[in-house]
Symmetry: C2
Subunit: 389 residues, 2 copies
Amino acid sequence: MERIYFDNAATTPVSEEVFEAMKPYFTEKFGNPSSIYKEAQETAGAIAEAREKVASIIGSDDEREIIFTSGGTEADNLAIKGVAMARKKKGKHIITSSIEHHAVLHSCEYLEKNLGFEVTYLPVDENGFVNPEDVEDAIRDDTILITIMMANNEIGTIEPVAEIGAIAREHNIYFHTDAVQAVGKIPIDVNEMNIDLLSLSAHKLNGPKGVGALYVRKGVKLIPQMSGGAQERKRRASTENVPGIVGLGKAAELAAENMEEKSKKMAEMRDRLIEGIEDNIDEVILNGPRGDKRLPGNVNVCFRYIEGESILLNLDMNGVAASSGSACTSGSLDPSHVLLAIGLEHEVAHGSLRLSLGAGNTMEEVERFLELIPGVIDKLRMMSPLYEG
Amino acid sequence: MERIYFDNAATTPVSEEVFEAMKPYFTEKFGNPSSIYKEAQETAGAIAEAREKVASIIGSDDEREIIFTSGGTEADNLAIKGVAMARKKKGKHIITSSIEHHAVLHSCEYLEKNLGFEVTYLPVDENGFVNPEDVEDAIRDDTILITIMMANNEIGTIEPVAEIGAIAREHNIYFHTDAVQAVGKIPIDVNEMNIDLLSLSAHKLNGPKGVGALYVRKGVKLIPQMSGGAQERKRRASTENVPGIVGLGKAAELAAENMEEKSKKMAEMRDRLIEGIEDNIDEVILNGPRGDKRLPGNVNVCFRYIEGESILLNLDMNGVAASSGSACTSGSLDPSHVLLAIGLEHEVAHGSLRLSLGAGNTMEEVERFLELIPGVIDKLRMMSPLYEG
């Protein structure tokens, strides 16, 4: 039986088309794009093309607004620390939410611990929504940055980013959004949404690991976090990862094609999964909202009385790859900060299962999974000292 | 006529063997190594194997001392800023040299400008050597880090790293070395040389762009520069670049095989190039030392009365890819800081040519180049207002 991969929010396979696009840049077209000879011009041109494709998928018409990085984490770090250091004379207050990815939360904590910044961590409601009014209320004279994610990586909540962007613009505060989970899944327009900085990652959209980008609106100042050569208009030193960048460009291009249609199909699978689980298993909690304000590929449920880890191991043995939350915190014994923030008790939060759909998934896999899961949960509950059936 | 690639210090092609090793990790073995299912264990295992190979090539017997990064620049930044921030209560003084790569120099400048550090930039002699006595003399009570490169990227000088390491150890000061140009070319033993931190990069040794590593001796504390997930034992957040890391491991393994023999052959080509240029062209200056204290693949000469840029363009038209110095500063109109530091006048420093040999070069190419170069220099000098023949 073919394995089912339901962990596309953790990472995705590089698609064949993306890999074909990258391939020549390893062994043949290998020139350092900063040099001046033929081999170098070839790769410099490939980077320019990728930059346009990435700009285009988020609605920027100026490819110079794209800085290539080593991934979403670096993009978040560069945005937050880079703006903080550039504006620290203006103020040292940052507003974020309590359900951000750790790349955002820990960048904020770094600024608190090491550089004397103050950070407001806004609460969210039971579905994971940040309230734009809370954002406005939290603004102080010394607020220099608001960073709120576009869509949550664990529970799929799509935040009211356009409203928050409008508030930030009105108060002349930079607005950053971690859009790692959203790019290629939902429409994004940095201009309409008043976004000043946006992080994205290639390996979440069938591109390669080790490459991402930060959109930086023209005129927004930041202090580079990687010091060295003059690459990326002196905003990010290091020899460019040419094949990676080409792969990101191609992945962005492909993700943009028929995005609406693909996301609609994914949402159908998502809703069938939710329905199938809720109809056939008792005492299940859906984490995150229903409908349009949820990422089309995200399902996150808690099964009372059992542990997420044991669900995952049982699913793995049954040929299904899934996650209990963020891959970045696996190995940690703490329950998810996201699930706690939406009000779950520790005990319940430990029993979470995230299923995240991708380009490769089919309704047939969904049905296969739905036949499997009640048995897995049943077996684990039978073994649980907490379950009284 | 086949083109000649003499810019291996800027970057190298990924070798076929390295590419073959990387290939499965793009489209097939793509699991996020932080997850717990089968697909993830596969990639976690591949990373562990690469970590051992990289540790081994620099004489570390503990693979946990290796942190994978996005390249040499990030490794330098993490070493310097990471140690500085971890030890700033002990002191805020750093010792480096005036001919370091910009990833080191600009990291030091970042600490001076933004965090109140003081940096001593040691001079070098006419061949680019740092004097270990100068290092010792520069040590203060508040010195927390010495960072001196293992081999210079422009003029190939191999620094007396073991002596400097011994001094650093004696004074209980951490010692970092940027070994990006040295790894795989000359023998390195972090224990014998008393190195506490060492930067290396994959794309300089026929591995992929976008990946490198920092060796950090057990017990050496640093503050992570990339905040986020728990990857790399919490010292470098971000989803691991699995194919890149596998490629670096394979490239390190291959570079270690018969290194002495390969370097000897390269040194023969280097010496033939130097001899051929000096014998057939007047008013040439060799930059950097002769013999064993020069990187086996490095040639750097200045031709009086002409500009490096025009030499490169003419060579390119004649099928040769070469550089005037570091690729990272191309586009800059300033002469090389390295050539100025060894005492060249601005005017002379502008006429530099760096030829850097790699695994793919042959003596036949060397001879072909030697037939070509006198004509190129002659033609340019004829056009130069400074030249009086």
